[in-house]
Each structure stands twice: as structure tokens, then as C-alpha cells.
Symmetry: C2
Subunit: 232 residues, 2 copies
Amino acid sequence: MKVKVGFTPGEEISAPVGVVIDVLRATSVICQALSSGFGRVICVGEVEQALALAGPDVVLGGERANVRPEGFDFGNSPREYVDLDGAGRTLALTTTNGTRLLLAAAARCETVFVGSLLNLDAVVAAVRATGADEVAVLSAGVDGAFAIDDVYVAGRIAEGIGGEPHESASAAIRLANTFATAEDGIGGGSSAANIRRVGLTEDIAYCAQESLLDIAPRVVEQSGSSVQIVSA
Amino acid sequence: MKVKVGFTPGEEISAPVGVVIDVLRATSVICQALSSGFGRVICVGEVEQALALAGPDVVLGGERANVRPEGFDFGNSPREYVDLDGAGRTLALTTTNGTRLLLAAAARCETVFVGSLLNLDAVVAAVRATGADEVAVLSAGVDGAFAIDDVYVAGRIAEGIGGEPHESASAAIRLANTFATAEDGIGGGSSAANIRRVGLTEDIAYCAQESLLDIAPRVVEQSGSSVQIVSA
């Protein structure tokens, strides 16, 4: 299995299998919500799209500038989804960087998994189980730019997959290995700084936990500007 | 001075000052040719464009698949330009990745320098001397994709510039520092493999030499699909 890493979301890497990473915090939230029993997560780019999905069995979550939008049930902190009973319900999640890359990845890869540290081992195992000849591990970044937190996790996932690393994967693995801990790896960039600024510092340590969740969420449908994700 | 690093050429990073890196081998050749006295280098994307520039004081250089195109005076090996007397002559150089990024950088940056290991100290000094508030250090990559050789050099140049590194620059510096030598840093990717394949292995060690040339080439004109570069 050849392994490539996308350092920024604009890279048009195609492969049969893709892994999308927006560790602070969209893909961590998706993993946590599906682990709490939600039947599906629908990621949308706009607050209005999420509001339009509102209904008795739909929970609205997400952020704008790291804060819960008005009229939403929850924000974008995975800790908010831990003690929820999501059974039979849908989470409509609005995020910017994560949704954009999920849509782009779904257009270029037959299978798209959702990756984070929370589901590190599970997503690695799911990728390997596909037996695909190539996988693209994709960093969501911030507004199209490089984000160290996502690239760190991309390196960790690429290392876990093994196989034949492309030079991009070898570089991401090398880079990840320069950090002493996962919290150092994801805590040093602007994503983490923005989260600290709104007082959600604990989210960083939460998202830095490895393989807490035995789940490999997968995109099952994309239509226009929304992506539907279920627990594989 | 804020310092950003572009890991792949498609990233649309804007800054008053840009540094373009295609260390294996276009930007190394440009530095070497200008050091050998050529008055200017005109980079073009197509073999036909270079042939159209042919004339008594014009030398044609470059490569296709790492080999000298038919009708050209020289290939794309910096060693070919060491003992040339370029005084009063123009080098018309056709390269793919380098030219494309030089054009893109010239469209987004007021000043564009040509960076390599051969002119490491000189390009760092030239960037610092601009006193600009921001610099973008840009990796040319291979066909739009990540190339470790360029990112290694980007990290080295970013480290030399110092200032306030963006997380992309910090990551490139970290990554560069995982390599024991410059030859290791640029020798492990597909660019180096392709050069070895055509029997030009010595080019890698040549391009890995640091600060051999006291020159900071600068783009002075771009028109359509060609870029003119002189020794600053």
C-alpha cells in the first residue's frame, strides 16, 4: 500500500482511499459523536445549512470562530459529546476547514475515512483492511494554509499504516517524531492558539488522547455542499 | 519579519518577498550560471520557447525528463555551468517545476529571489536586507506534489532568516533538522532518484554544497510564460 500525505488541503491528491484530518476539532468531534451513538453526522459548510436541517431527531453542533453559533445545541468541543445519548439521532455539524476537505476528498477517493488521534489505531486498521494499493492522508489546515496539528496526526497515521511511504509520508512521519508527546504535536499551532483564546484549552489535551475510540467513521454520501458520515 | 514556508507549489502564499526553491536542479543551475558571468537567465516552460530565443549571445540549457533536449547547448546540471564564461551572454533555461513556481511567485510577491543550497547564506542575507514584514519561502516540488529536497532547503533558508516563523516555517525547520547532512536532506526523494537514474548522481552532491556562491538572483521581469532573472 502506497501512502501519501497532503500537507495542505489544496493538494489534489487522488487515491482509492483517503483519510481526512481536522484534529482541532472537527474530526475529533465526529469520532466522539458517533461513539456516543449518533446514527450519522452530516457536515455542512454554512450555519444556515445546519439550521435548515433542524428537527426532532437532529442535534445542531459546530462553531464559528471556535464558538457555538446562535440557535445551536452544542459547540465544536468533543467533550460536549461524551455523555450525550445520540441513539437514533443525527448530528448536523457545521465546520469550515473540515467540511471543505471532506467534500474534496469524497470527490477524489472512493472511500474516505475520518481520522483523529482519538481513533488512531481504528482508522489505521480500517485503512489497512481495505487492501487498497494507495491511500492519501489529508490535512485540513486552516483556511487553506498549513496547520501543524493536522500534519502531526497525518504523520502518526501514515506511520501506523506502514506500507510504502511516498516522500511526503516519510517527511510527515519524520516531523511527527520530533515531538515528544501528541499534545506537543497538536498544541503548537494557530488552531490550538485560537482554542486557548476562547477558553477551551482542555479540548487540546482531550483531542491529544490516542486510540480512545474504536471507530473508523466513513463518508457514505456527499451531495452538493454536505457530507454524510457514519460509523463504519 | 514573518516567515512562511510553502510545502507544495499550489499553496497561494502571498508576501512582499518570496524565495523560490527547485534545488534539484533549476535554482541551483540559475545560481551557478549567474556566478559564471551570464548577464541574465530567462526561464521558460517549453522547449520551443527556449529554441525561439536562440541567437549569437544566447546559450540554451535545460532538461526534459532530466536529459538535455535536442538542439540545446547544455543540460540542467549545475556542473556544466561552472567553467563557462557567460560574460555578455544570456542563458535561456527550460525547466518545468521551477519556471511554473517562479511565474506564480512573481505574480504574488513584489520581490522574488532564487534560492538553493549553493547560495544559502547569500539568499538569507538578501531576504533580511529587504526589511520586509513577511517572506514566503516556496518549494517547487515535482509536478505539483511534495518534494523533500525543496522542503529541506526551505527549512534551511527559513532557519537562516530567523524572525517570526509561522507554524509552516517551524515545521520545515524541524524537518530539515532531522537530516544529518544536506546531502541526506536533498538525496532521499524522487527528484534525486530520477537524477541517479540518468547517471547524474554527482549533481546531488554538487547541489548539496552550502554557500559556495555569493549571489542572490532576483526576478526582474515576467511576461506571460517567461521569467527573467539577474544577479541582484
